[in-house]
């Protein structure tokens, strides 16, 4: 038997995205790219974006790691594709706030859709960095 908390952390949606990730592609002519590594566990994400006229026209990533980091990259790419750079920045801050909240702030379902499956992560302090890894890569890729 597993606890409800564990079921909350590993929602089926996360395991599905882990096994069948979205956006795990190489994009043409990226305008920004970032490789992020979590040195304690070796999880890696390399994320590329192509921004045209302030819009994230294409996003792709490559990586390996735990189900949380990889599902987070997958969910991120579904959210950020076709948004403006400014909106992506707002999503990033909202996501960061929720992840660091130790379960006190939840992601808004209207804005985050399926990615609210990551809500359970914020109660596991050691795993927050897993969920954040692709988002940190996005932040750097958009800045670069």
């Amino acid at each position: 038997m597993s606890s409800d908390d564990l079921q909350g952390l590993y929602q089926q949606l996360i395991l599905d995205h882990y096994k069948n990730p979205h956006g795990r592609v190489t994009i043409e002519s990226p305008t920004g790219e970032s490789h992020q590594l979590n040195p304690t566990c070796g999880d890696e994400v390399t994320l590329s974006v192509r921004v045209t006229d302030g819009v994230v026209e294409a996003i792709g990533w490559e990586g390996h790691g735990c189900s949380i980091s990889q599902a987070s990259a997958s969910l991120l790419s579904t959210l950020v594709e076709s948004t403006t750079v400014d909106d992506a920045g707002v999503l990033l801050e909202e996501f960061r706030t929720a992840m660091r909240s130790r379960g006190t702030v939840e992601l808004d379902e209207e804005r985050f859709g399926d990615a609210i499956a990551l809500n359970g992560v914020s109660r596991y302090v050691a795993r927050v960095k897993c969920a954040m890894l692709p988002w940190v890569a996005l932040e750097a890729a958009l800045a670069g």
């Binding site: 606890s3 590993y10 790691g65 735990c66 897993c130």
Partner: protein, 421 residues
């Protein structure tokens, strides 16, 4: 043959470790991360407290009674630890941990390269080679990379094969080799390395042997004189003692031939405004105020292990290892890293389709503490085609029931993450 610890004996031992009666996530703690750090028995905790309550004062300084008593206990601790590893007290240098011990040797060797003709015999330079193995903990790799960079020497390594077994040292330990550094027991594989043949090869070419005994000192009878190594290091916190105390063993004549690493108070004879003369080892390597209560607590831990008997501790390790391996081999999709040879009670493995962090998280939910990640051995993991693994490591307080609970957890994780066929 030495008898292992019975389940009943282990249950009695567990009474000495208060933390083992606590719960984690609503489950009784199953602590299988002793390879990272061991738990501490009450006698060790009491020893540290008693020192501060009854003996606290500066050692090797001052003539008052308390200082003399503290100094006596501090040096008695050195005697106790020396006896435990088959060495003499003057060959035991206190460090904060094994990492500091290895760095001490590496920096003393590079100091020898610049400290003048009296140290020339130990100096390293271009053309000289330092040999490590591909399965080392980062603590026994990076200090040697850095020493090579500082001195112009070349770092070479003995590779491991696809299973994690050490290849032959032939052609790697050569006339150019000056230092051979390797672990007694791999912290990832749990396999006991062939110390005798590596020491023989190193000494045949006049190289110094540095042994990382972190994973052997807590689990095996250790006789450093019999092993004939030149230096050895281990950490107290992995062998029932507090953090902050470790040991560097050095062969007496070699320690006294090395220039110091850290300099300052307590390690000198005569000091002028221009220069200083140094005390012989071990004081030469113990600059500044020492970790007195921790050293005394380490001696208490060593006495605790000795009272059980290291032969029996080792037999318990073998039994744990056999149970762990037999269980893991029986779980579909599990690959044990280094599934061969004589070993201690430690096993690392990967579960096909589940990242080590997720295995660890699943086990944690049941109160089972294991290590996940690269265990400070990235090159070995890379060689085995992995970035991380899960490691279960036991100690004298580990029961068969705990290992069975862990094995059931690993099997159940496959169902939970949907990787069963």
């Amino acid at each position: 043959m030495t008898s292992t610890l019975s389940e009943a004996e282990v249950m009695v031992i567990r009474q000495d470790f208060p933390i083992l009666s606590t719960t984690v996530n609503g489950r009784p703690l199953t602590y299988l991360d002793s390879g990272a750090t061991s738990q501490k028995p009450t006698v060790v905790l009491d020893a540290e407290r008693r020192f501060y309550e009854e003996r606290n004062s500066a050692v090797h300084r001052g003539a008052h009674t308390l200082a003399a008593l503290a100094t006596e206990e501090f040096e008695d601790a050195r005697e106790t630890v020396a006896r435990f590893v088959g060495a003499s007290a003057e060959e035991i240098v206190w460090t904060s941990n094994a990492t500091e011990g290895i760095n001490l040797v590496a920096y003393a060797l590079s100091n020898a390269s610049t400290a003048g003709p009296e140290y020339a015999a130990l100096a390293l330079g271009p053309g000289d080679e330092i040999v490590v193995t591909e399965l080392e903990h980062h603590a026994n790799l990076i200090p040697w990379q850095q020493l090579a960079q500082r001195t112009g020497a070349t770092l070479r390594f003995i590779p491991v094969d696809d299973d994690g077994a050490l290849a032959s040292h032939e052609g790697i330990i050569t006339e150019r080799t000056r230092v051979v550094a390797f672990s007694h027991v791999s912290n990832v594989l749990g396999v006991i390395n062939p110390v005798a043949s590596l020491v023989a090869a190193a000494h045949a070419v006049g190289a110094i042997v540095v042994l990382d005994a972190c994973q052997s000192a807590p689990h095996l009878p250790l006789d450093l004189h019999a092993l004939n190594v030149d230096f050895a290091v281990f950490s107290g916190h992995k062998m029932l003692a507090p953090t902050g105390i470790g040991v560097l063993y050095g062969r007496r004549e070699l320690l006294n031939a090395l220039p110091p690493f850290l300099t300052g108070g307590s390690m000198i004879t005569t000091v002028t405004m221009e220069s200083a003369a140094f005390l012989p080892a071990p004081q030469r390597f113990e600059a500044g105020t020492q970790r007195v209560s921790q050293a005394i607590a380490l001696a208490t831990a060593v006495d605790y292990l000795s009272a059980i008997g290291m032969d029996r501790v080792a037999a318990h390790g073998t039994a744990m290892s056999e149970r762990l391996l037999a269980g893991l081999r029986g779980i579909e999709g599990v690959r044990v890293l280094g599934d061969f040879g004589d070993r201690v009670g430690l096993a690392s493995f990967e579960v096909a389709g589940i990242h080590a962090h997720d295995v660890g998280q699943f086990l944690d939910d049941r109160g089972i503490a294991v290590r996940v990640g690269h265990h400070c051995a990235q090159p070995l993991h890379r060689r085995l085609g992995l970035t991380s693994s899960t490691r279960a490591s036991g100690s004298i307080y580990t029961t068969e029931a705990e290992i069975d609970l862990f094995l059931q957890g690993v099997a159940d994780s496959r169902t939970f993450f949907g990787v069963t066929s």
